[in-house]
């Protein structure tokens, strides 16, 4: 295991009486892709904006590369690429000018990475930012975050607005960065994204980190959302087996969240007179419900 690149200890942030985050602790090791997952408003962006020294914590500490992220923010920034969740850029600028500006802010003029990354993401450098779609603006943010080849990428909801093909390219780029030893903190509310690329994941709910499973554990637990209909009448006893949560029954139809071995689930379902069955990945909120059962 590499040394810790990010160390967060009991971080809390309150806005007056309102809760931002209450008890966030985790560390991200060098070369690791670390997912940060939680529903909207859980505190992901607050944690990340504290790491980026945009807001000051009410208590606790956060270090990046072993240095306090507030006190040494400018120094640390040399090696961080940051993509904000909801930021926008100078609308009147053309993409080329904006990315040139971003590069010069890191002391790199005429940076060839701009062309390379833009071509990869099929980003038109000649358009004005105000005329770009949400997805294309996100591409601008991705290029701006990666153009100085940072050692740490902090990405807040990087895929929102990207179409599936560009998402695929983006994940390939992240995989390449990982192979180069870059550490990545990846915030999202889409579970499949962290399963695709992350090594570990911190699950945050209502300002608190409630679990930090490895992606192996997360997969093995195999959260599934199951909807089914049977021929005949359904009752709770038929579906009351280990791993079932949030069970809802209406006449001959039922839905529930299942956490466990898929083979076991199929065996159980096979004993029922199924008319129809639909197994899908649950949304994050449904998994979080399961965490409290």
């Amino acid at each position: 295991m590499g040394k810790a690149v990010i160390e967060i200890e009991s971080l809390a942030k309150y806005y007056g009486k309102d809760r931002g985050i209450e008890d966030v602790s985790f560390s991200v090791n060098e070369g690791e892709v670390f997912g940060f997952i939680g529903p909207n408003g859980a505190g992901k962006s607050t944690t990340i904006r504290t790491l980026m020294a945009l807001i000051r914590p009410s208590s606790g500490s956060a270090k990046i590369f072993g240095k306090d992220c507030i006190e040494y923010a400018p120094e640390i920034a040399h090696n961080i690429g940051y993509l904000a969740g909801e930021s926008s850029f100078y609308e009147r600028m053309r993409v080329r000018e904006f990315l040139g500006y971003a590069s010069e802010l890191y002391g790199k003029k005429n940076n060839p990475r701009i062309k390379e990354l833009s071509e990869r993401l099929e980003l038109d450098l000649n358009r004005r930012i105000e005329n770009l779609s949400l997805g294309n603006k996100k591409k601008v943010g991705i290029v701006a975050a990666m153009l100085h080849s940072p050692k740490l990428l902090i990405l807040d909801e990087p895929t929102s607005g990207l179409d599936p093909l560009v998402q695929q390219t983006f994940f390939e780029m992240l995989t390449e960065e990982k192979q180069r030893g870059v550490t990545i903190l990846f915030s999202t509310h889409v579970l499949s994204e962290v399963q695709k690329i992350c090594d570990r994941v911190a699950i945050i709910k209502e300002g608190k980190v409630i679990d930090i499973p490895s992606i192996y554990d997360l997969r093995r637990n195999g959260y599934k959302k199951v909807s089914l209909a049977i021929d005949g009448e359904l009752n709770e006893e038929l579906l009351n087996f280990h791993g079932v949560a949030d069970l809802q029954i209406h006449d001959n139809e039922a839905s529930f969240i299942y956490r466990g071995e898929v083979v076991e689930l199929l065996e159980r379902l096979g004993s029922l007179h199924l008319q129809d069955v639909f197994i899908q990945e649950p949304v994050l909120e449904e998994i979080l419900l399961h965490y409290y059962r």
């Binding site: 945009l54 000051r56 400018p74 920034a77 909801e86 930021s87 100078y90 890191y106 701006a144």
Partner: protein, 269 residues
């Protein structure tokens, strides 16, 4: 100085537009006011002069009949009560928006997370705003010299002209500093121009009220009254107490802005 360069580039069109507008207006207005000045001067002791000398509005704005009977006096009047106020609105607007645009436009996460400290970002933005705003002021100073040359063939007192026109630059500096300070303290303000107009208008009202009622201390809250044309014409200088007060205010506003931005949570709209 990368931020300075890019901020200046973003303000360029605004500064050029205001410069052109002020140059055009001074060349359009100066012939009219020069001719009025000559008329008043040529009709000394007449009804026109009596009307001017007894005018409460002119007294409230700090102008004397003697001063207004000369073309340079009327130049002082339009500089102090038209161009200076317009420049003050521009300066405050630029000061406000150079800070607030990142909060309302959600670009704080871009500009304040790079290798420059917050203090450095602030200073470079301030420098860009100063260059942008004061360039408009100096364009006016230069353009008005040529406008006076063209419209006062009998000549004029250069030092008087310079003091009158340079008061616009001093006022710009003060309102710029005030704008930046308010921008830092209240960064999520979506209407910087409206706020700038309101603040300048309020200071004008305070100044006029203070002069009319005779409350001298209140004039310290009214920058447009700091550089009265009649005083400048009589003494050949600015009132030192207001110059010192202005310098103190500028330093205070900029220091507050610097200290607050370094510690503040940067939360966008």
């Amino acid at each position: 100085m990368i931020i300075f360069k890019y901020e200046l580039r973003q303000m360029r069109n605004l500064a050029v537009a205001w410069s052109i507008a002020m140059v055009v207006l001074i060349f359009l207005l100066m012939p009219v006011f020069a001719s009025i000045g000559r008329s008043v001067g040529a009709n000394s002791g007449t009804q026109l002069e009596q009307m001017v000398s007894g005018n409460e509005f002119l007294q409230a704005v700090g102008m004397s009949a003697e001063f207004l009977s000369k073309p340079i006096g009327l130049y002082g009047f339009i500089t102090g009560w038209f161009f200076s106020l317009a420049a003050a609105v521009l300066a405050m607007h630029v000061g406000l928006s150079v800070i607030t645009k990142d909060f309302t436009g959600r670009s704080t996460d871009f500009i304040y997370t790079k290798i420059d400290s917050r203090g450095r970002v602030y200073l470079e933005k301030l420098a860009a705003a100063i260059v942008s705003v004061l360039s408009v002021g100096f364009v006016y100073v230069i353009a008005s010299y040529f406008a006076l040359e063209a419209n006062i063939p009998e000549g004029f007192d250069f030092s008087l002209y310079f003091l009158l026109s340079f008061s616009l630059v001093l006022l710009e500096t003060l309102y710029l500093a005030l704008g930046i300070c308010i921008g830092v303290v209240w960064p999520r303000n979506r209407h910087p121009l409206l706020l700038a107009v309101t603040v300048v208008f309020i200071t004008v009202v305070i100044g006029t009220f203070a002069t009319t009622v005779g409350i001298d201390w209140l004039l310290f809250l009214a920058p447009p009254k700091f550089f009265g044309g009649s005083f400048i014409a009589t003494k050949g200088s600015y009132e030192s107490k207001y110059v010192i007060w202005l310098a103190f205010l500028v330093a205070t506003f900029l220091s507050i802005g610097y200290q607050v931005i370094r510690k503040k949570d940067l939360i966008t709209v």
